[in-house]
Amino acid sequence: MNNNDNKIKNGDAMSGNEPTGARRRRTKLAVWLGVAGLCATGASLLPLGGHSQAAYGDPLSEGMECSYGDGAPTNPVAVRSFELTASEGYTSEPDGNAIYDWSYRNSQRNKPFQLPGPVLCVYQHETINITLKNELKVPTSIQFPGQANVLADGVADGPTVDGGELVSLAKEAAAGDTTTGVVYSFEASSAGTYLYESGSDPQLQVQMGLFGAIVVRPAYVDDAGGINPVVPSETDILNIPWDSGANPTDTNAQAGVDAAGLVAANEASCAYAKVDDERSCDPLAIYSSDPKSENILMLSEIDPGVHTFMEQNGGTPANLTWNAYPGAYEAHYFMINGRSMPDTVAPNNAPWLPSQPYGSLAHVQPWTPDNPLDVMLRYVAVGTAGYDFHPHSNHEHVIAQDGALMKGAATVDNLAGNDNTEEKFNIMVGPGSTVDATFRWTNEAGYKDSVGSRVPVAWPNGLNLQEGDFWSGSPYLGESGNLNPGILTKTQCGEYYHVAHNHDLTQVTNYGITFGGMLTLIKVEPPAAVQAQMKTECG
């Protein structure tokens, strides 16, 4: 499995083979290239850093793209190893600006510069080894907030001090150390979403892009010492609340969900075990196993002044006075997974974003008894301030913070245990924090294009309205309508697009220009049964 870091396993659309799904992805590529027209990144014109800026080379995909290191993606192993190399490169902003950055490239797979660093997906109780090498002109390191008992080269890691002066928060790889590096290791003791980031001059190095995410999937150690993944059972799935709003006690069981079928088809994944039963999944932490149903949103910001200063100083921070470098710190670009809108909605590994491999377009199909599993969203706030992230179209159910399920164990006084999960229309992700939330969308109003189900007001004459690029021309899911001359819709099958964005609206801009920055889209697709009857694919 050494060279197979991808969740997508059914062929490579660009390989020339034609496995199942290849044609489908090619369609999608064409569509996304249409979207890319907006992006106009001019990536091929970017000045090159010290490394090849060739396309990342992995197939296009959507949803969270994991790196599994040298271990299997599908089952736990005793030891899982990664190698990252701190390196420099360029990323592009939608307004055409090229930004000089530092980040972690996946040198284990001999991959070029990317920002952010790879998403390291591991199983609980595995021993994780991460080798850090360094191509930068300054020493660097990695700290692992939320991980306990981290070793560096076999010794307990921690701040390094030289003559009473703090050098770094973790053991460093020396500038230019591309051979030995430092090996960090720890047991992934708790499931959840975590940040990893530079522990050296972090104010500068994290701003420059030295960060990434670790996702720990729940697992338990059996009596024989083997590590086993936590898989949702039929009972767990039946206990998922299906509308905790108007019907707080109702569950999938009452909605008539075929949980046995879902288990048999391996369609459900688990983010957290129950707080008092490490072998079974908490119903609130169950989500669809469709790769497109799991998303990560690493929220960060860039002050281009800092990056330009570093570029002009040859990659060293000499003479950088942080609070007056010149002019005080002020961020102007705001990213999800290192990209700003509209690049956020491009697929993973889009070739026109060669060093920003991760997209954040979310997919959801309406909740029905036939489609009862939620979407998982993993938020990581990397910047020095928190971000308030607002998903349109429905609340998200916040289930975990900083890698901890927000539930208490049963007590004598409280047999159900405390449940501090909550549905929010605004997700507060504190600086350096992570939040896990599930999302669903239900066609609650039941609007359809049929007599007795239409919207109650008369259909306006479209010529009198202004129409958007992500508008299908119809209020009804799965329907498309006539659009005004000049509108080139990016919809394919009458799907809905809803925005999801930071609600500090100054940060939903690209250097002040709206509909950019920390914004992505939620794509609400017609139900599978409707899609099956369509001539157009929904992507």
Binding site: S244, G245, E423, F425, P460, G462, N464, L465, W471, H503
Partner: protein, 511 residues
């Protein structure tokens, strides 16, 4: 609109006010009563039409609508509590922040000038300081009256509310910007937090439609979940929101659910929302929107200068579109949804200005009431000892705010329109943190008579008065005035609109 027959179907009607209000502003409509208004439904037509249209009702029922209900014949059925119809218009104008140089404010209560941004040199020096654009409530106005509102904005947007089981229609008219005819901006209505929304009614112009200048469009909502939400324009959102286009909307639970209530009380969340015993009951409710103003950006919009929004630096912090000490002033000369009171009595002059004298006989034209004509929403909270008070907070600024209540113990029983019960993890507090785009439902029991301040803990968020005598000027600060038991008339409308005519001292002030 005039003379329409209002047919109730199972819902309490707003009472026709005997005194100041000759016209119903708040329409609860069903059945035949809907017919006259129905014409505005869904039609995106030219607002300023051809000959003969000016004096007609706002519009005639478009083809395809049932003239007896205003509803398209193939539409989804009306919900059990029927249809309520509001109308909003987007337009620009001038608003007031506390400026030391204004004679009704003075250097002890007003902020110093920020040259050249504040006060804006184009503002009316007697009353206003700052350019803005926002929604105005034009419910019930005819087409000519709506058109006459161009250039008469307010901040922040009107508060409106609904009940689970109703269908809400909001017709949005884009009047354009009087000062900026060069801008062809659309407007939209985004109900922030509305569950299971469809893009058609979500108001994001990129993924839906926007209302062009001179046109109108009717948004429809069928709320299922009680709670405190907010609404704002999503067109070039950062600019339109900060220029003023944001307000509070809230949803009350099923009115038939009286579990845990005594006469005169309401509750914020019903059994269906998880509040099975009436923990969220209250005697009075207030809604307060938190935001900020960067006077450079407002100046820029007035003077045709672009703003780099990532360089946003607020210099005034607002509650309901006002900065302290204006937050304490009574509600303005508009109704509970921000509509001019005058329109029911005096109508408008040839320029579209409300004729104020008919309702404000003897009012000093240089009074705060006149100065705050376009900042009509008070943040003063009034209570009688022992009463349960609800304050609905929403934040549509760009910054986190922490509101503290020294001397009071408050329960946060609602977050983002969801009921959160008091529990071992959620104890009473005296401060609430609220981020951009969030809402909180804050409850407290009024202690014995006295005055209590509540304010943003960010102490740098106050510019201070020009003279230095009042450090709170320019910020998010207001007060809770508690009166002796049984000395305050029951609240009839949120924020004291229409139900408590005696803001200015009819009741004994504790100190």
């Amino acid at each position: 609109m005039k003379g329409h027959t209002d047919v109730a179907i199972g819902i309490e009607h707003e009472k026709e006010s005997a005194g100041l209000f000759g016209r119903r502003k708040f329409l609860v409509l069903g059945g035949a009563g809907f017919a006259v208004l129905a014409g505005t439904a869904g039609a995106a037509r030219a607002l300023i039409g051809g000959p003969g249209q000016v004096d007609a009702p706002r519009s005639l029922p478009p083809v395809g609508l049932d003239p007896s209900t205003g509803r398209s014949g193939d539409a989804i059925a009306a919900p059990p509590l029927g249809v309520k119809h509001f109308a909003l218009a987007g337009t620009d104008g001038w608003v007031s922040l506390p400026y030391a140089g204004n004679p009704t404010v003075g250097p002890d209560l007003g902020a110093a000038a920020i040259d050249p941004y504040f006060p804006d040199p184009l503002a009316d020096p007697a009353n206003t300081t700052t350019y803005a654009f926002c929604f105005r409530n034009v419910t019930g106005l005819d087409r000519a009256q709506v058109a006459a509102q161009k250039g008469h904005t307010q901040i922040c947007a009107p508060i409106f509310y609904s009940t689970v089981g109703e269908e809400i229609w909001v017709t949005l008219t884009n009047l354009g910007l009087q000062l900026r005819p060069d801008l062809v901006d659309g407007h939209t209505l985004h109900w922030h937090g509305f569950r299971n929304a469809i893009p058609f009614y979500d108001g994001v112009p990129e993924s839906s439609i926007a209302v062009a200048i001179g046109h109108d469009f009717t948004y429809v909502y069928r709320p299922q979940d009680a709670g405190t939400y907010m609404y704002h324009c999503h067109f070039e959102d950062v600019e339109h929101v900060t220029m003023g286009m944001h307000g509070i909307v809230f949803v009350k639970p099923d009115p038939g659910d009286r579990v845990g209530l005594v006469d005169g009380q309401q509750k914020a969340y019903g059994t269906a929302d998880g509040d099975a015993n009436g923990e969220t009951k209250y005697d009075r409710e207030y809604a307060i929107m938190l935001s900020e103003i960067d006077t450079r950006a407002h100046f820029g919009d007035a003077h045709i200068q672009a703003t780099d929004w990532t360089d946003f630096h607020a210099d005034f912090w607002t509650m309901n579109g006002r900065s302290y000490p204006d937050t304490l002033e009574p509600n303005g000369v508009r109704d509970e949804f921000g509509q001019l009171r005058a329109q029911s009595d005096g109508g408008f002059d040839s320029s579209g200005n409300a004729i104020l004298t008919t309702i404000d006989e003897g009012a000093d034209p240089t009074s705060n009431e006149s100065r705050l004509f376009s900042n009509p929403l008070s943040s003063l909270v009034q209570a009688a000892e022992g009463e349960r008070i609800l304050i609905r907070f929403a934040n549509l600024g760009f910054l986190d705010h922490t509101i503290v209540f020294p001397g009071l113990e408050v329960d946060v029983l609602g977050r983002d329109s969801r009921y959160v019960p008091h529990s071992a993890q959620r104890l009473a507090t005296d401060s609430i943190q609220i981020g951009p785009g969030e809402s909180r439902d804050v409850f407290f029991t009024a202690p014995k008579a006295g005055k209590f301040a509540f304010y943003d803990r960010g102490m740098s968020h106050y510019t201070g008065s020009e003279s230095g005598n009042d450090a709170w000027v320019g910020g998010q600060r207001s007060e809770i005035h508690v009166y002796d038991k049984n000395t305050l008339a029951p609240q009839q409308k949120p924020n004291g609109w229409a139900g408590e005519p005696a803001w200015a001292g009819e009741f004994p002030v504790a100190d």
